[in-house]
Symmetry: C2
Subunit: 552 residues, 2 copies
Amino acid sequence: MKRTRKKLKIIPLGGLGEIGKNITVFEYGDDIIVVDCGIAFPDDDMFGIDLVLPDTTYLIKNKDRVKGIILTHGHEDHIGALPYVLKNINVPVYGTRLTLGLLEYKLEEHRILSDCDIQTVSQGQTIEVGIFKVEFIRTNHSIADSVALAIHTPVGVVVHTSDFKVDYTPISGEPIDLQRFAELGKKGVLLLMCDSTNVERPGYTMSEKTVGKAFEEIFMNARNRIILATFASNIHRIQQVFDAAVKYNRKVAISGRSMVNVCKKAIELGYLNIPEGTLVEIERINSYNPKNLVIITTGSQGETMSGLSRIASGDHRQVEINNGDLVVISATPIPGNEKSVSGVINELFKKGAEVIYESLADIHVSGHACQEELKLIHKLVNAKYFLPVHGEYRHLIKHANLAQNLGMNPERTIVMKIGQVLEINSDEARINGNVQSGKVLVDGLGVGDVGTVVLRDRKHLSEDGLIIVVLTVQKETGAVITGPDVISRGFVYVREAEGFMNDLKQVCQEAVSKCEGRNWSLKKSTIKDTLKNYVYQKTKRRPMILPIIMDI
Amino acid sequence: MKRTRKKLKIIPLGGLGEIGKNITVFEYGDDIIVVDCGIAFPDDDMFGIDLVLPDTTYLIKNKDRVKGIILTHGHEDHIGALPYVLKNINVPVYGTRLTLGLLEYKLEEHRILSDCDIQTVSQGQTIEVGIFKVEFIRTNHSIADSVALAIHTPVGVVVHTSDFKVDYTPISGEPIDLQRFAELGKKGVLLLMCDSTNVERPGYTMSEKTVGKAFEEIFMNARNRIILATFASNIHRIQQVFDAAVKYNRKVAISGRSMVNVCKKAIELGYLNIPEGTLVEIERINSYNPKNLVIITTGSQGETMSGLSRIASGDHRQVEINNGDLVVISATPIPGNEKSVSGVINELFKKGAEVIYESLADIHVSGHACQEELKLIHKLVNAKYFLPVHGEYRHLIKHANLAQNLGMNPERTIVMKIGQVLEINSDEARINGNVQSGKVLVDGLGVGDVGTVVLRDRKHLSEDGLIIVVLTVQKETGAVITGPDVISRGFVYVREAEGFMNDLKQVCQEAVSKCEGRNWSLKKSTIKDTLKNYVYQKTKRRPMILPIIMDI
């Protein structure tokens, strides 16, 4: 009978073979729980897209079986998709205080907070969700109150580290609960799911404290105003800015909507401890001596509308760069942001600021575990099977290799794609079938209405623009009444290319004259092909060509 | 009289405050010479642009005074714009053998080689161009046959390092001619112009030889086919691949048009030394045992149409990834290319290849001098004035600081913008006025016909697409005869949004009905504004809206 007993199903709907939109489904019998529900940021070829959500069709189809969603921490790539998903699947959401505090802002923005069932869990606590017992294990990460999960299932324990690092001297709270990982490992863990983000980096990730030391040195030597940019969610980093500010007698002003919101929430929940009178209004910064002021802002990734970008480009409402201002960018550019960050840095230099950034000082540390920390977790948990998560494909492969180098049987290291179904019990683990998964694109208010066709058109338009040919014809005979008129956008600068535009008109006229009669689509295709060839031959460009025929 | 004597004018038309399109004008009395004439690659916001040329209007205006163009080495950002510029200013071009060898390909492609006056100069040689004596000084760089220039002028000697590094053990030829730099310095140098690319990097750039050592280790341990991607122009790198191949008994095949061209030219000119029978046709690779084969290809930057990208995406004509193939990417991603390179790496892993890339081994070294090398040159040349070149603004600032830390008077370190005119003689150096400068965009055959308007439209179209509204009206009365028809591209997927598209049509109809009469532009603006507001309110998107009125 043992052979036939039910298996645990694990279905990653995001976060494998990609950075972001982390979401994993755990399924046993009729019970489903979901771990995290994050967004990804659009790729360069997703023109005009604001956000990327995971495709949760599978969950919607099985909504009655979903018992709850468990969050490991409050980063966008772990909670960002919840406002969209909860509209379709309204189930209880479990997380630590800060995580839920940050989530509440989002749910308010989407006006669904009051409809949601949000339940606070503390580090170390175990909750029952359907048939699953989910244990919250304290970890360290670049955001406070983050946890790993031990998911106790009928077929064994699954340890999911989520994003983590090992920090023996965290800014607040305790180091990661290594003893509990060890205890679980001692008792026997079926499967380890582990963060792969930094698997290519040898050694250890430095403690967040080292950044504080760098800040102190910078604050000690700075003779003017300090403007510091970092991630709004990195409360420990922000705490260290306040600590250094207090120590060197500076007031702190906060700029940037998300930075203000997060700090407000963090203060309210007691995750940020600020001495009375340290925090000052951004509107009042000019009433302080520059050498007694720090401005904390967003935009460490060079985001166009962020605080730091506005400051650099000179259109920030309150902050203007003065000669000698010291700007500290306490972050590393996420792949793809290098150029925009570097652009911001150059602008700041041009305005007379001194800029300290990543390549020049220890003003940033990663929130993810490097190789030695990963080995530590692997050895403590000592799981029977290993599933690398949270990384691009090459990271997953390298993480599987790392486990194998630690002695794990290659057949027990499982590299999955999103949408695949892992069936596992104490006897075996195998990939068996898959479910719908992928990307849902958010553009303005539209969710999923921009697909490959629209994106292909946007790409085409972005490269060579378009030419519109309008023609009015006699409905009965097809005889041309007026036109063809030729209009272009994003193709050539018409004012300087009138001659050429007239040529195009000429070419269209000839094309039209070639195909008389009432076959509109023939007319259109003739215009299109003739114009396309002519334009390419003359310019080596392939603008989109739109023939429009009005029949009256 | 001394006060009134003529000054040397130095006008950078590119390469300062930017990476690429290096070109500098030297002017004394009626004589002008130009150093280098390179392209830059388009920024992310230059939709559809192929190349960026420096604006050489100033040279065209003064073409009769231009005595010659001097090239320091054969990289695109130093010679790439010549085919375009020589069409307007046909003057003698001076360079070393390999530099001119590579240039000839370009001039042939543009069918102007036969009209051009190209004169070979060897390292160490001095030529007279107008009133200037230009001395070619041997340097090391990531391309063979590169030189610095000592420009002997009536007001003193200007040393222009161009791109360089100090390599005591270069692959072929001699190390940089430090003695000559010292000798010039001893005699007295008026101005140093020095490469700033790596000014942020402490220490020394490693010798190209260290890459060879890494190659040997990789080749020694590889059990299957090796596919190696690097820059086509890095002949020393390619030589080292051949050396390792010969040593470990592998044949070498070359893939990628530019790689083939450069190698052919380098062999012809004797810059690549390949033992008989080592080179094999790419068409015949499958007749060799994988463990006896190396394929050298382009695409180390993840360029879409390049050899390695085609191999990774599975549409390369001759090369298909087999399980166990070893891919070596011998380059560092240039800022902006990180994501595409990383995409290629993931694809290769998915196809079963093992991939070695920069973060994992010493398979690449920079071609530019780091801080210690820069200090060495500053001290040897010991110039009176210093002008940092070849770098973004922040690099120029940091290079000026480096000179000041070596004891140079800040008033003698000059940070310039392109187009500015530096007037200098032995008594003083000051920026005095400026000339036209900037970017000329190349799109297909069009040079300069794509400007800000076209780019703004392309950006707009790429983000939200467009909506076209066509209307036929009675010429005399303005009464609507047919329409409005509403057509969209890159906005919403029409098949799934028919209802919404009908709403838009409805909205247009109402708008039109509001403004009767013969005022076309009023009709258009009414349609535009009404539709714009409606669409934004419904979708939070701002597509381009094009009302077209046909009157008959």
